[in-house]
């Protein structure tokens, strides 16, 4: 974990307000698992004190480059979206525990379930699963066709099922409709999910007892390193059933299913 001014190699808009930023730096060599995040400092707004946690969407150890896909929604991410190639971004990372992928083996069925801006970290999961010879199935939910991104990238890795809230692409409605239809027919070896709380709750419910199913949480953070205790979630010990608060930033953001009170 370190602080670094990473060099911006490229910044492009994937969809309205959805940006993909390619960064290069030493930190990349520490990115050994998908699902971690970078804590990014808004570059020009000195009145914004807090860093923005942005998940890492892909990692390339050979070129020391990684990509972040984020939505420019608030003042900080809008500020980040103004940066262009050759400028730098002050980041802290890689932070948090990512998705365990080291036990994925050839021929296994791996599913990723993501909604909206929760989808990016699942791309690296899917990519690494494919590299390990797994069969990948992606379930992706978007608000509409306009804000859809990375469809082709996921299609290059396996089967993709898409829903849009407004019906402008794929199944009309939320992703749960597709999950209810397909999940009873398959037996995934591993499950990885990130997205809105209702989606995570659904995945958690379906795979509560699954030994290799994971959800990635989001919570407002301040420090990002476990010092301030701002971003806690309620968890229960599977054996003792005892409830305990855990910090999303450093004890998460990835948790096994059946553990977090979603």
């Amino acid at each position: 974990m370190k602080q670094e001014n990473m060099k911006i190699i490229e910044q492009k808009m994937l969809a309205p307000n959805i940006f993909e930023m390619t960064l290069e730096g030493l930190i990349v060599q520490e990115m050994l698992v998908p699902g971690q995040f970078l804590h990014c400092q808004p570059p020009t707004r000195s009145d914004l004190l807090l860093r923005r946690p942005i998940s890492i969407s892909s990692i390339d150890l050979k070129t020391s480059q990684c990509k972040l896909i984020y939505r420019a929604e608030g003042a900080g991410t809008k500020d980040m979206s103004q940066l262009s190639a050759n400028e730098t971004l002050d980041v802290l990372g890689p932070l948090g525990n990512g998705f365990p992928v080291e036990d994925i083996s050839e021929g296994e069925l791996v599913i990723v379930v993501g909604g909206g801006i929760g989808i990016p970290p699942l791309y690296e999961v899917a990519r690494q699963a494919r590299l390990r010879g797994a069969q990948v199935m992606a379930f992706l939910g978007f608000a509409s066709k306009d804000v859809m991104f990375y469809l082709e990238e996921f299609q290059a890795l396996g089967d993709v099922h898409v829903s849009t809230d407004d019906g402008s692409y794929g199944t009309n409605g939320h992703l749960g409709i597709i999950l209810d239809e397909i999940l009873p027919q398959i037996e995934p070896s591993a499950v990885y999910s990130c997205g809105p709380t209702p989606l995570l709750a659904k995945v958690d419910q379906y795979f509560e007892e699954h030994p290799r199913a994971y959800v990635s949480l989001e919570e407002r953070m301040a420090c990002g390193v476990g010092a301030c205790a701002a971003c806690v979630c309620q968890t229960k010990d599977k054996k003792t059933k005892k409830m305990r608060l855990k910090k999303v930033c450093d004890e998460g953001p990835v948790f096994a299913t059946g553990v977090v009170n979603i």
Partner: protein, 305 residues
């Protein structure tokens, strides 16, 4: 001669920079970034008698040049802090200032009695000013008689010097500071956060689940400077200044207001290396301003009054 060294009750500081309570966990989190033995001291997260879960989330909200928090003193309780958190800091050559909070005076005295026995705890910071808990916290800090009574009681049992952390959420901080000094406080910490609120325009609801929270960051620095100046003119005990410190100039401004050491809070979240950067940057700025040593600066500020 170490130009940055400062002697305070219970604390021989190699430099005046210390992370403020609540902003540095129990130290280990930032030990991943740098050798925390460089620090003047560490004010660890508040300890209470029983473990506390704190408030519901969201617990933080951003404000212009500031931050609101409503953590609610989440901590594992005195037992785990004594058995686990404080011993983990013993390998670092840095004095610990233990922040203590409670619902009742007995809570405070029990925790102070225990925590002052930890070998690396060199002072207690009595938290009578947390704005984010319904019982205890700020209620002790807004009534001068209650604050004085608590200080007196804690002083009877604590084995280390006691610094009382004052609340800025009062009409006049001066009488409270005076009463606390008269009750035996060895020093003061000031200021804690200012009570504030933000509302989300889309949901029309307060952003913080707790509705209100404590405002920190550069936005509150002028308030801290004003209060430190007011109080330092009427008390004879040292003040650890805090509230929006981000730069070496902020550190020296706190000194010129009457502080004898400086704690850094929210800035740790923006820049995890802020404390060592301030320690490194201070001598050059002191040269530019003709400040020979911090000990001398404290003396000069006192004599000028």
């Amino acid at each position: 001669m170490n130009r940055l060294a400062v002697e305070l009750p219970g604390l021989s500081l190699k430099n005046p920079i210390m992370p403020a309570s609540g902003c540095f966990g129990f130290g280990a989190e930032y030990a991943k970034f740098y050798d925390i033995s460089q620090l003047g001291a560490i004010m660890v997260k508040a300890a209470t008698l029983e473990p506390r879960d704190g408030n519901p989330t969201p617990r933080v909200a951003e404000t212009p040049s500031g931050m609101l928090n409503a953590i609610g003193l989440q901590n594992p309780g005195i037992e785990e802090i004594m058995s686990d958190k404080l011993p983990a800091l013993e390998r670092f050559d840095v004095p610990i200032i233990a922040n203590v909070a409670g619902y009742t005076i007995d809570d405070y005295t029990s925790v102070c009695e225990r925590i002052s026995q930890a070998p690396n705890v060199k002072a207690i910071e009595l938290n009578i000013s947390c704005p984010n808990v319904k019982q205890g916290g700020i209620t002790f800090g807004t009534d001068k008689d209650v604050a004085a009574d608590l200080t007196y009681r804690v002083k009877q049992i604590a084995n280390v010097p006691v610094y009382v952390k004052l609340s800025p959420n009062v009409t006049d901080i001066v009488p409270i500071a005076k009463e606390v000094e008269a009750a035996g406080a060895d020093g003061l910490s000031m200021i804690n956060t200012l009570l504030g609120m933000r509302i989300d325009l889309k949901t029309r609801q307060p952003i913080l689940a707790n509705q209100t929270g404590g405002l920190s960051g550069p936005a509150i620095k002028p308030v801290a400077i004003r209060m430190i100046k007011q109080v330092s003119e009427v008390v004879n005990i040292p003040i650890i200044g805090m509230g929006g410190v981000y730069t070496v100039d902020d550190v020296l401004e706190m000194y010129m207001a009457g502080a004898s050491a400086v704690a850094v809070g929210t800035a740790n979240f923006t820049d995890p290396l802020i404390c060592p950067k301030l320690i490194e940057g201070l001598p050059q700025r002191m040269d530019e301003l003709g400040i020979e040593s911090l000990a001398k600066l404290i003396q000069e500020v006192k004599e000028a009054r």
